[in-house]
């Protein structure tokens, strides 16, 4: 029995690679397994090659593994492309009709499992595309599961297509199961121990978690110009627009999108945009406008390797500096960086309250790795979605006696002034991108200018009071203290127990709230023996943000900028040689 197994399937686009991955993912998640599902893009290796890998474990997991334990090859190329990733004792399932693989071609420790996928489908009068279902059926044998593990999900996923389709799929899965059972019953090396997770899990990528968090945060309007890696958010909003009671608009460009969102926000609808670095570059002037107009806006900034078009379908954390410094002029803003699917949901929900409360832009930094990997989120996290409670909008009835509404009143301890919404009688003001008087009318008068800048700056202090402290875990007396933000969280979380077992004293300080850097971070970091900043960029952007805020110079900065996420194995290897 093994506790942890990475299963992968590859083949041409149209072979049902994603469908097979989705089915097994659901089956594992419902049966108490920890699961993380990653997709590789068609364009990466060769046009039309699809590849999905699932890390399945009996406990909760926080990062995928690089090596593959069971590879299902629906064509010859899948083995050619991925044999380097194979674990030394891997199982390779293939159709001898594609190519008759020999051990010496893939590795001597590898178990070759030849299954006549095409033939078996034909035998049951199935469609050629259903080879994936044969493979899934056979997979059950190698994972040591009954066929019912799979059939329950088949019934669900094809429910809309009717009984006949369900039965056909089950019958095909059965064919694969039976074939493997009668020919490879001796292959028991990868039988999975029982799934131990008891609380119900939802499956989603972080883009969808951001979407769900937005809905729970009261978002009503989203304008999103398509861009990798935030595209999964678009169908999530668009397909559910009616149910969610929202408007999703595809604008002509990112500039239009962000301005539409600002317009909707001015009218009182919680609004957001989502993009990647290139699109965000186009939005930056409007981010600055949210600073002076003091209008709430949430921005999902999905990072990918730059500069410019860079490597669009790979991952990076190279936009932290850009997010923090986006926008000309001095004004406060907030930058959050979810480290996992749960934070994707909770921080996005919170972002809408923060934006409303402080009347400025809140940027949520996600990345390709988080956004396009499927994760599990405890269903209990998403429970009890209520009406939004936080607002700085006045009641229309309070405006009766106001001769001039002071939308930008400087008479405020927090720096936040009350706002009226168009349509409210006696609340008229100018939402002005020029410097303005308290009622919004344009001014170039020195005293008023200073008063307004000071008022807006005051919000920074108020924001700092609301800031979330870094999450600290691990050994109090650590030799190595990892410092991270965003998606590195899960990788470190996986590496920590491995390092502890190897005798390393390790600690993790993680920033989910990155900017403004919370008060007390300097003191927190100064106590550590050896700080190691682990980042997915070339220059150590978090380390430099920390230095700017605290004066602490983190000497050890591990950077990675090849577009591939830091792996647990890489962290463990590097850490074993550090902190002596």
């Amino acid at each position: 029995m093994i506790q942890d197994c990475t299963w992968a399937i590859g083949g041409e686009a149209g072979f049902g690679i994603n469908a097979a991955g989705a089915m097994l993912t659901k089956a594992c998640s419902r049966n108490g397994y920890g699961i993380i599902t990653s997709n590789e893009y068609p364009s990466l290796i060769r046009g039309g090659h699809n590849f999905v890998s699932l890390r399945i474990a009996s406990k909760e997991i926080f990062a995928p593994k690089a090596s593959v334990d069971i590879l299902v090859a629906l064509n010859k190329e899948t083995v050619e492309f991925h044999k380097k990733q194979l674990a030394s004792d891997a199982i390779v399932m293939f159709d001898p009709k594609d190519y008759e693989w020999k051990k010496e071609e893939v590795g001597t420790g590898v178990t070759l499992v030849a299954i006549p996928l095409t033939e078996l489908v034909k035998k049951r009068d199935g469609d050629a595309v259903m080879r994936n279902t044969i493979a899934l059926g056979a997979t059950m044998v190698f994972l040591g599961k009954e066929l019912s593990f799979l059939t329950a999900v088949i019934k669900d996923m094809f429910a809309k297509k009717g009984e006949a389709v369900i039965n056909e799929n089950i019958k095909i899965a059965e064919e694969g199961y039976n074939y493997a059972k009668s020919n490879f019953a001796s292959v028991t090396s990868h039988a999975l121990a029982v799934g131990e997770i008891t609380d119900p899990k939802l499956l989603m990528n972080v883009s969808e978690a951001v979407g769900l968090g937005a809905i729970a945060g009261g978002m009503k309007f989203a304008a999103i110009y398509p861009m990798t890696p935030i595209n999964a958010l678009i169908p999530f909003f668009n397909d559910n627009a009616k149910k969610f009671n929202i408007v999703y608009k595809q604008p002509e460009d990112e500039i239009a999108g962000v301005n539409m969102a600002v317009g909707a926000s001015l009218a009182g609808a919680r609004s957001m945009v989502a993009t990647s670095g290139g699109g965000f570059a186009l939005m930056v002037e409007a981010v600055s406008m949210t600073g002076i107009m003091e209008v709430p806006l949430v921005i999902d900034l999905g990072m990918r390797p730059g500069p410019a078009t860079g490597m669009p379908t790979w991952t990076e954390q190279g936009e932290l500096h850009m997010a923090i410094h986006a926008g000309h002029g001095d004004f406060p803003k907030i930058v959050l960086a979810p480290g996992d699917v749960e934070e994707g949901y909770t921080l996005t929900k919170k972002a809408f309250d923060l934006a409303d409360e402080f009347q400025t832009s809140v940027i949520i930094l996600t990345d390709k790795y988080l956004n396009e990997t499927q994760w599990q989120l405890s269903a209990s996290v998403v429970k009890d979605i209520k009406e939004v409670a936080v607002t700085t909008t006045v009641n229309a009835s309070d405006l009766n006696d106001t001769p001039v509404f002071k939308r930008y009143s400087v008479d405020t301890k927090t720096g936040v002034s009350p706002r009226s919404l168009p349509g409210m009688k006696n609340g008229e003001y100018i939402a002005n991108s020029y410097e303005h008087e308290e009622d919004g009318y344009t001014t170039e008068e020195a005293g008023v200018r200073v008063a307004q800048v000071d008022k807006r700056a005051k919000k920074l202090q108020t924001i700092l009071q609301a800031a979330l402290q870094p999450i600290v875990s691990g050994d109090d007396n650590a030799d190595i203290t990892f410092v991270t933000f965003g998606s590195i969280k899960g990788v470190i979380r996986e590496a920590m127990p491995i390092l502890s077992k190897a005798g390393k004293k390790v600690k993790h300080i993680h920033f989910a709230w990155v900017y403004p850097v919370p008060v007390g971070v300097g003191e927190l970091l100064s106590k550590e023996k050896q700080l190691v900043c682990v980042e997915q960029n070339a220059t150590g952007q978090l380390a430099s943000v920390i230095k700017e805020a605290t004066g602490i110079s983190i000497k050890e900065v591990w950077t990675k900028y090849d577009g591939r996420q830091w792996t647990v194995e890489e962290i463990v290897m590097k850490a074993k040689g550090a902190g002596k």
């Binding site: 998640s29 419902r30 119900p200 939802l202 499956l203 989603m204 969808e208 769900l212 729970a216 009261g218 009503k220 309007f221 627009a241 149910k243 969610f244 009671n245 929202i246 408007v247 608009k249 604008p251 002509e252 500039i255 239009a256 999108g257 301005n259 539409m260 969102a261 317009g263 909707a264 926000s265 001015l266 009218a267 009182g268 609808a269 609004s271 002037e285 409007a286 406008m289 269903a379 998403v382 979605i385 209520k386 009406e387 939004v388 919404l421 168009p422 349509g423 409210m424 009688k425 006696n426 609340g427 008229e428 003001y429 100018i430 939402a431 002005n432 991108s433 919004g440 009318y441 344009t442």
Partner: protein, 283 residues
């Protein structure tokens, strides 16, 4: 009747500026249509025209240069009860914001765009705008404009707009009528207002326009004929047609949004029960 739109700020436009006429006509139109002041949201572009915000008491939004139209669409989608009007210029909505102008026409939101069209960038002291005529001498084109001009009316008609009119800033009753019709029209309505710049343009004076503008009176089926409208709107020279060139009824951007029935968007509650159904599918 008292002017309810007055603010404490006095206009800073040059004496004789065409903006005065447009401003007066806009106030007349809102008054004649009896739209409550708080229901009017005017989104201003950046340019001399945009300075109107400071002497116009309504909900105003002064956005970034070129971006008034997307701001206006956002406002309208979030609160369809608002009367959303864009006060823009030839540089603002055909130069910097040209992409937004044609895409808004394509979408047909129920908003009105008034183009203060004077062929120059007045605020930056008189450079040529996208509507400047060939050969026109300006600060940025001392040898004359070499690129042909845009025509706001033909552009909006061709891109899918559902109301196009042209007026002359020297004819306040005329443009009052056009703005009123544009606001009353359900859909993307554009009023191109020919406006003398008394400081930076010594050619296109009030007199120059008065000699040339000619009212057209297009009615009935002809008014909904896109190609015929373009034929009229493109005329420019010794005779410059003014009036309503085109009007047709098509579903608006807001009407085409599946979730925009009933209450304005910004008042919608979170549909917790429906969200739970979506969440259940993720198990």
């Amino acid at each position: 009747m008292a002017d309810i739109f007055t603010t404490a700020i006095k206009p800073t436009w040059c004496p004789g500026c065409g903006n005065f006429g447009i401003w007066m006509a806009l106030k007349n139109a809102i008054t004649n249509l009896a739209i409550p002041r708080e229901q009017v949201a005017i989104v201003y572009g950046v340019g001399c025209h945009g300075n109107m915000r400071d002497w116009m008491h309504v909900y105003g939004v002064q956005g970034l240069h070129g971006r008034a139209i997307p701001l206006a669409q956002g406002l309208k989608l979030a609160n369809a009860n608002l009367q959303v009007i864009v006060v823009s210029g030839d540089g603002d909505c055909l130069g910097e914001g040209g992409n937004h102008f044609i895409h808004a026409a394509k979408r047909n939101p129920n908003i009105t765009v008034i183009v203060h069209n004077n062929e120059v960038y007045g605020l930056t002291t008189g450079q040529a705008s996208p509507t400047a005529e060939l050969g026109f001498l300006t600060k940025s084109t001392p040898a004359g404009v070499v690129d042909p001009p845009f025509n706001p009316s033909t552009l909006s008609i061709l891109a899918g707009g559902t109301f196009a009119a042209r007026g002359f800033a020297g004819d306040i009753p005329g443009i009052t009528d056009l703005i009123q019709k544009a606001i009353s029209h359900k859909g993307f309505s554009v009023v191109d207002v020919l406006q003398p710049c008394v400081t930076f343009d010594k050619v296109h004076t009030y007199e120059w326009y008065r000699k040339r503008v000619q009212n057209v009176n297009i009615t009935g089926e002809k008014l909904a004929d896109r190609l015929a409208a373009i034929e009229v709107a493109r005329l420019w020279g010794d005779k410059i047609p003014v009036g309503v060139f085109f009007e047709t009824a098509l579903p608006t951007s807001e009407e085409r949004e599946i979730s925009l029935e009933n209450d304005p968007l910004y008042l919608r509650p979170i549909p917790t029960a429906e969200v739970e159904l979506v969440v259940a599918q993720l198990k």
